[in-house]
């Protein structure tokens, strides 16, 4: 109950953020966005026809009117139909978001789990060659562009210049086997790119925790180093780790992984949205931006609640 109250209060505080995001997105993507008038007209349109289409699209209204209308549509979940395909926007979201999630989630989970594990090893052997070796690999990994990794992995694993084990592109998933064959190479690329950053970040967090007084005390009392690391240090380092994980989640759901989706021609929501922005398919853009903002706010609230679960000293104030 207390948690629910807290979440509600947090949500009310985050309303300005929702307004801000929708306002920026509306101004940039809708108000100054592509003009679609002529896509709905035949070749030599009369001025009356132009006028009619413009008013159908709402172009003749003032900025504030259009923005308020947009907010109203969002509040009533009246997202409309895509301008280019005529499909319902909700349907498009339902169709493409699961693809993005299925594509990005394994890589995300693996990169966090591996990142934390490697960071623990590095922190445990701090100052030795193990630590230095890991950190060198982390810097090298951080320095390779995602695009290079994607191209290289596709050559190595998906083409006959390399091993040719996996499909080159596409998303033809109907069973566990086909899912695995399509998701493996993207997952490897995501993990490869994220691992360097993650390892460094988590190592810094863990090392900072290891410098605290309670660790010295525990060590003085003869706690075994491994137990100390897992039972005390990792537990106390959980707050920054959880924050980083949860804040990234909304972007996986909605931003997807545009580069991977584009390079492997996977119909995820990231690619759909990018195309929508460029072609000016406003109903899709409006829905996606609003959804991201809402998910982001939920993620913020979720992190705050999870602090309490991890650390009972944190109070809802």
């Amino acid at each position: 109950m207390e948690t629910l109250q807290y979440a509600l209060r947090k949500f009310i505080y985050s309303i300005p953020l929702l307004f801000g995001v929708t306002l920026i997105a509306f101004t940039l993507m809708v108000y100054f966005g592509p003009d679609q008038t002529y896509q709905f007209l035949s070749k030599n349109p009369t001025p009356e026809e132009i006028e009619r289409v413009r008013s159908e699209l709402g172009y003749d209204q003032a900025f504030a009117v259009r923005y308020v209308q947009y907010l109203g549509d969002l509040a009533t979940l009246n997202l409309g139909n895509s301008n280019s395909s005529g499909e319902r926007v909700t349907q498009i979201l339902v169709k493409h978001i699961p693809v993005s999630v299925a594509l990005a989630l394994p890589g995300f989970i693996l990169s966090v789990v591996l990142g934390v594990s490697i960071a623990l090893i590095a922190a445990f052997y701090r100052g030795t060659w193990v630590d230095k070796g890991i950190m060198v690999f982390a810097v090298v990994g951080m320095s390779i562009s995602f695009l290079i990794v994607v191209i290289a992995f596709q050559i190595i694993f998906c083409s006959f210049y390399g091993l040719n084990w996996f499909p080159v592109q596409g998303w033809d998933v109907d069973s566990v086997g086909s899912y695995l064959s399509h998701v493996t190479v993207p997952t490897m690329a995501i993990v490869f790119v994220a691992l360097g950053y993650n390892t460094r970040f988590y190592r810094a967090v863990i090392v900072e925790e290891m410098n605290r007084d309670y660790v010295r005390t525990a060590r003085a009392f003869g706690a075994s180093p491994v137990k100390l690391l897992f039972k005390h240090v990792l537990k106390n380092a959980m707050i920054p780790i959880i924050t980083r994980v949860i804040i990234t989640l909304p972007f996986i759901v909605i931003g997807g992984n545009i580069i991977i989706e584009k390079y492997f021609s996977i119909p995820g929501i990231g690619q759909v949205t990018l195309e929508a922005i460029i072609s000016g398919d406003l109903p899709i853009v409006k829905a996606v931006v609003a959804l991201t903002a809402v998910l982001y706010v939920f993620a913020l609230i979720l992190t705050d609640i999870s602090y309490k679960m991890i650390d009972p000293r944190v109070s809802y104030k």
Binding site: L17, F32, S145, G255, G280
Partner: protein
């Protein structure tokens, strides 16, 4: 704070007559520490070489042949074309050299402006902590952070149609937020120090305190943030060029890589190897440089 005495103890004992005058500034110490760091110097040299290449291209000395079709397409590496030619028969070496200039342009413009904006707004937000000014600045970067980056760039690129700096502007609009966050945190600590309190007590105007007394004490953070932003900008340029949102009417490593992405399936790797190696070496050098700089400038680390 508790480290202060330690630092003083480590001062050389040779000149005890006037310890105040002899005490080195953070910058002098950092300078000395940096030049003892072998990796730091090596990375600085590499970045310096790249910078010279970029200057050479600016002065039209090297990389002049980046757009001329000089030979057959996909000519193999030779003494004339060190790294071969691309599909249009353009010399890949010159294109890579020209790409260095573009990378430095993107990196420098974005790093300078984004860290300046982040630094100034961070100082203001931190100094006026818990006031409406702070709330507004936090709200602003909160909003920008919750819009997916590539979608934001796509939108800005569309709004500024045809503007060659659309990508730069979009990056500046989003990259300042991380600097702002860090500087704000630091300034919240600084504003409670005695010297700020003293300035306030003698009636110095708030904005003068912020810019004359507080801002200079965040410069070491800004320098490190600038190097990190520089790397981020170069790496983002590659991705954006691949998505078709990057530099226009020019060549960059990102454009070379996106050309390469359609060539590698045909077994042609000249563009891919050249652009990857140019990009990788600059980014890793910059990453190591940023690390060394951070080590050298970290006042918490005890240094001689």
């Amino acid at each position: 704070m508790d480290r202060e005495p330690e630092i003083q103890n480590k001062e050389p004992d040779s000149a005890p007559v006037e310890p105040r005058a002899k005490r080195d500034s953070l910058w002098k110490k950092a300078f000395r520490k940096f030049f003892r760091d072998k990796f730091g110097i090596a990375s600085l040299v590499v970045v310096g070489i790249y910078f010279l290449i970029a200057v050479g291209v600016w002065l039209d000395v090297i990389g002049t042949n980046w757009s001329a079709t000089t030979d057959a397409s996909f000519a193999p590496p030779s003494s004339e074309h060190w790294f071969g030619t691309n599909i249009n028969g353009q010399d890949i070496r010159d294109r890579a050299l020209y790409g260095t200039r573009v990378a430095f342009e993107v990196g420098l413009v974005v790093a300078l402006l984004a860290t300046t904006i982040g630094g100034v707004l961070g100082c203001i937000a931190g100094y006026f902590n818990r006031t409406i000014i702070d709330e507004v600045i936090m709200w602003l970067y909160g909003c920008l952070d919750s819009i997916p980056f590539y979608l934001f760039v796509a939108a800005v690129a569309f709004v500024l149609q045809g503007n060659p700096y659309a990508m730069h502007i979009a990056m500046i609009c989003t990259f300042w937020s991380s600097t702002c966050r860090i500087v704000r945190g630091e300034v919240i600590k600084i504003r409670n120090l005695e010297y700020v309190e003293a300035a306030r007590a003698v009636g110095v105007k708030p904005l003068t305190i912020v810019f004359k007394h507080v801002f200079p004490n965040t410069l070491h953070i800004l320098l490190v943030q600038a190097t990190i932003t520089f790397v981020g900008a170069i790496k983002s340029e590659v991705i954006l060029s691949f998505l078709g949102l990057g530099v226009k009417n020019s060549v960059s490593w990102g454009i070379m890589l996106s050309e390469a992405s359609s060539e590698v399936s045909g077994g042609i790797f000249y563009n891919f190897y050249t652009a990857s190696i140019f990009l990788f070496i600059l980014v890793i050098a910059f990453n190591i440089f940023a690390d060394s700089l951070q080590d050298a400038l970290d006042p918490k680390k005890v240094s001689v």
